[in-house]
Amino acid sequence: MLRRKLLIILSPLVALLAITAVAAVWSLQKLLTDLDHVNTHAWHLVEQVNALSMHATTIELELHRLHAGDEQHLDRLIESVNAAHARAQQIGENYVLRDPQVASLLASVQQRLPELQLHVGALATTEDADLRRLRMRQFLEAGIRISHDTVPLSQFAREHAKVEQDALLRRFRHVVLVLTLLFLIVINISVIILMRMAGVILRPMAKLTEATRQLGNGDFSYRVSLPEHDEFGQLGTAFNDLAQRLSEDEQRKMEVLQQTARTLNHELNNCISIIEMQLQLLQRRSGERAEMENRLRQIRGSMQRMTSTVEALLRVRRIVLTDYTPGIKMLDLEKSVRNEESGDTACPNPDATDAKPLHMQ
């Protein structure tokens, strides 16, 4: 029951934490995906456009090497041209370049590349000087036109990448702010819930602790009120039952003590009456002798003390023990008859009659 109660209190907290974690992870993952998108598309496009320009330079270098006799095979040249084609196709597949502003530029580049390829192929194999000059001029014109279209492409790609990156940064700031607020709220709610959960445990524990202390101090009438329908409630009920049993035990002890006192009172009164009568006879026969008077007075005083001690036993309200000798307890008559609230006692002043507490084990 207590476990269920704790689960009911904790479950919303756990759910709230899980939802917060999922929301945070989802937001950050989305941001990472968008960041990756910016890198793989936007900035990658910039790299690709720059690489396209580099391919044109590489083609020129390969042609130069062929004509200089440094290279005897055309494969590197062919691969450079093929790479330029592939690069242009990759650039065309990028969603950024669907913008009408730059789509025409890319289309122009893609149209001029086959023309460039034609001139490159001819230039790579032609030996005739006039034809080679013609082909070189055509190649350079095609290359310049391609470069002319590539530069604004690169600028557009860079600007687009920057715009996307700035937008991503703004979103990142918002996400950080929202997550911070969210975590603050979650922390506050967590504290409240945890405090409430602590109260569920600590309140009944405090009551039980106080009740136990009172019971330890001998207040068998103290009862604890734990209305919870859980283990603490059961513990409270058990405590009250224990206190009741202890109280009843104490009451029984009191009754036994009072019955014993009554018996003593009855028997002692009979004996004291007989002793008093004999004292009176002695006092009459002793005349005016002071010494005899004094002894008779002491005997009467002791009998009065015995009478008041027995009467005190009748008024014992609780059993309070004290040490008679180390290891042996006896009834502390003064405290046993003391009213706890007023502090008044019904016991005779032990200093006046030199009385000693009744020995009780």
Binding site: Q29, G121, E127
Partner: protein
């Protein structure tokens, strides 16, 4: 209560695993550019095959790349296609063992046979049934040139160290005493047969000497361009696979078998289609008889014809 606890723990585990899988999604790095080597087994030495620019060098390499990938699977070695700048470079590559095979034109095959002992193995058959070609000297339809003699003073586009673009026109002009003389045409050494045709059609040169198969292909693609033939040669074998003399017999047999049986399976037929042929047939040096006739016709004028080295000697009749 116990069931609720088990259910709760199970939900937590599933949630954690789902979260981990979700977080593990990460972008993939772009695949690196694949090397232009058709590899059947990466740890095997590369089998290099040389080709010479005959038509558009980009399309030609793509054609031979597909053939190379097929052969790589057949001979269980990675195959690399090398495009040489000239026929002379290929012969040098064969001699230096830089390449282990080459697809060569007829003149280059004869020269390779004569210089380094190379031998042809197989040549393709095209869809129209042709496996040979001839040299054609041509002009634009509207040209005033009607015969070889009228080429004097004009520019003649040629392809160096080829039968169709060099040997035959040089032999024809030598016969007319018009070669390398002020009375003869001025050679314009162009790289490929396709460029010769393109330059003639564009009017950059006055005449050209090319393979008839390339001329006919151009005319099919550009029926609006009218061209007229001045002279044609005898038929000689189409470009064939040539192997050096030192090639191991099992390697020769493997390559021959791979090429001869290409048309028998779907993969081979697909590659043949990309290559532009329907099958391969055997080829031997004795198939180049017509070319040796032209060589012997040139005779001592061989150096004058700006042909490399010494004229190749016709092999004995019983040579393979």
């Amino acid at each position: 209560m116990r069931l609720a606890r088990v259910f709760l723990y199970g939900c937590l585990i599933v949630l954690t695993l789902a979260l981990l899988f979700w977080l593990a999604r990460s972008p993939r790095a772009p695949d690196p550019v694949a090397p232009m080597i058709a590899s059947a087994a990466v740890d095997q030495p590369v089998f290099r095959i040389a080709i010479v620019p005959e038509r558009d060098i980009f399309a030609q390499r793509e054609r031979y790349q597909a053939l190379g990938e097929y052969l790589a699977d057949e001979i269980d070695r990675p195959v690399e296609i090398l495009t040489a700048v000239s026929y002379a470079q290929v012969i040098e590559d064969l001699a230096s063992r830089r390449v282990e095979a080459a697809f060569l034109g007829s003149l280059a095959t004869v020269l390779a046979s004569d210089r380094v002992g190379a031998f042809p193995v197989a040549r393709p058959v095209y869809p129209d049934g042709h496996d040979r070609y001839c040299s054609v000297i041509f002009v634009p339809e509207a040209s005033a040139i009607t015969g070889m003699e009228q080429l004097a003073g004009h520019r003649l586009a040629m392809v160096r160290t080829t039968f169709a673009g060099h040997l035959f026109p040089a032999a024809a002009l030598l016969k007319l005493r018009m070669w390398n003389t002020p009375q003869g045409p001025q050679p314009a050494w162009v790289g490929t047969h396709d460029e010769v045709i393109s330059d003639v059609a564009a009017g950059r040169v006055d005449a050209g000497a090319v393979k008839n198969l390339r001329l006919e292909a151009f005319q099919r693609e550009h029926p609006e361009v009218k061209l007229r033939r001045l002279l044609s040669s005898e038929l000689v074998p189409e470009n064939s696979l040539v192997l050096p003399a030192a090639t191991a017999p099992d390697r020769v047999a493997a390559l021959r078998q791979a090429l001869m049986s290409m048309h028998e399976d779907d993969a081979g037929r697909r590659v043949l289609g990309q290559f532009g042929a329907v099958r391969f047939i055997p080829c031997a040096i004795k198939d180049y008889s017509a070319l040796y006739d032209v060589v012997e016709q040139i005779g001592a004028d061989w150096p004058n014809a700006q042909l490399p080295g010494t004229p190749p000697v016709r092999p004995a009749a019983n040579a393979p």
